[in-house]
Amino acid sequence: MTAVQTATDTILEVNNLKTYIFTRAATVKAVDGISFDLKKGETLGIVGESGCGKTMTALSLLRLVPRPAGRIVEGEIVLNGEDILQKSEDEMRDVRGRQISMILQDPQTSLNPVFTIGNQLREALGIAHRENKSSMLGRAVDALRKVNVAAPERRLDDYPHQMSGGMKQRVVGAIAMSCEPGIIIADEPTTALDVTIQLQYLRLLKEIQAETGLAIIFITHDFGVVARMCDRVAVMYAGRIIEQGDVRDIFSRPAHPYTQALINSVPKLEERVDRLYSIEGQPPLLSNLPEGCRFAPRCPYVSDRCLETYPTSIQLAEAHHADCWALHSDWEGTPIAEYVAPTGTTG
């Protein structure tokens, strides 16, 4: 792939994005200088523990950070060559739904209980295509059919409480995709669904992506889902991306001690253990971050340097980067153990 091609393929570029939440007691650095890009038709996974800033990153991309406490304080979000942080609130409405859309975590609460599915779907459609009611009805039926809702004509008059969780999440998906956006952010869309339905839903997203060339940002804490869904992965820890790369690189050669620990903590079917592996300690408070590397207090390789300054990024492969002093050539502490992928973990 040549450089020119890469540039035109890039649909979204995030540079040094910082989103802080200002409370009376402290400033919570929910997103603290992250950069990544997204190409057409690609799926980027953002992985991390709860509270590491994943959802705040997603809301920042739509400029829907809860106000007035939350604010994007720095950075660029370049969508199709334009920095959306420079746009007015009116112009942002053209971005939301039409260019970037989002599927929320809990289908039980993300539909308005007092309006029918048809009403909510038509509303989303109406924003994109100003047409009369009858042709919109056809579009609404199509939209439901696209997400595999059986007998869509009859479903339009249903209220959300008359549908199952999996069905509701499809409707939310249909709403998100109704305006054919270039990017969909899926914020743990399957966490609230049961396992069999999860798989169906993921498969559906993949199918739609193959058809439409949609780019997906997949936010999750589930490495199984990452392996199934994503082309590239960004691992977040305490408001920063500490490692990103191709899904193969991340799974077979995780470089950052945190990524290694995360992958190790996924239970394996073929191994019998008495105690499941877990990372000792707690992530730091986002309102009181340490000076140096944020993972240092929990890291087995920690040295003085880690506690003093935040590590610079190091390139490990073409698109594989990690923020860790131990990966730098001048590292004098304990070298990071070569990661040995257990056989048959990613399948």
Partner: protein
Amino acid sequence: MQRFIVLRILQGLLAVFVISLIVFALSRVAGDPLAAILDDEAGKEQIERLRQSWGLDKPLHVQYFTYMRRLLTGDLGVSFRWDRPVLELIAERLPATIQLSAFALVVTGIIAFPIGVLSAVKKDSWFDAGGKMFAILGQSAPTFAVGLILMWVFAVQLGWLPTSGKGGIKHIILPGFALGYYNVAAIMRLTRSSMLDVLDTEYVKLARIKGIPEWKIVWKHCFRNALIGPLTYFSLIFAILITGSVVIETVFAWPGLGLMVIEAINSKDHIVVQAVVMLFALLYVGINIITDITYAYVDPRIRYNQ
């Protein structure tokens, strides 16, 4: 939905039956009705004759059935004070009370909902603070005081509006506002808090993600959901309007049922009081049924769970 309505009406009828028992019992517990009308000089024979002619010598349950039978045929008795059938009196006075209450209700709605919604949308702004002040004042000031203050400012000092009595539209403004103010405050606060809850929900987030204009999010997506709370309060409003009308009609000499009840109480006219209490109870039950049906209309989950 139909089943729900029928069920509610049956429940309402049961309530009315119980109320009629209570009203009947109270009128008997309050003492011998004859003692209130006849003076001390009345002879024993005279009392007995009246007692018989009114059926007061019969057992209580027989008296109750007679009372109910008359009630159902619209015979509410004759007032001592005005010497006219009570039904006629009520028919004469009721429209004025309805007019005043309806005006107060419209005032409440027009003022309370927009202020409540805007206070939530502009949370912690000067507008919100002003609304809060306005609400606290309305909920803490007694209705009669509000009435008197309004009368003093707008009728006595400024001379813009008449002090009392019934006439054109100008006459209704002061008593209507005084009667509605307490409810304005209550509904406004309720609307504000339920709007705040709704603005924070995931479906509002999804609506924003869809790119819907903010005014539409507020008035379509939020308002209808936020209405459920204040709506439950609606039947309470009615109770406040009834008790309030007794006070306000007296303050402003508004010739409605409230004023009539006060006059009847002052002259120990039990028959009138009993009839009006029964009427208020009936209206209250009726409004409750209507509220529940509206509630079911606004929130589809209630409709289907029944």
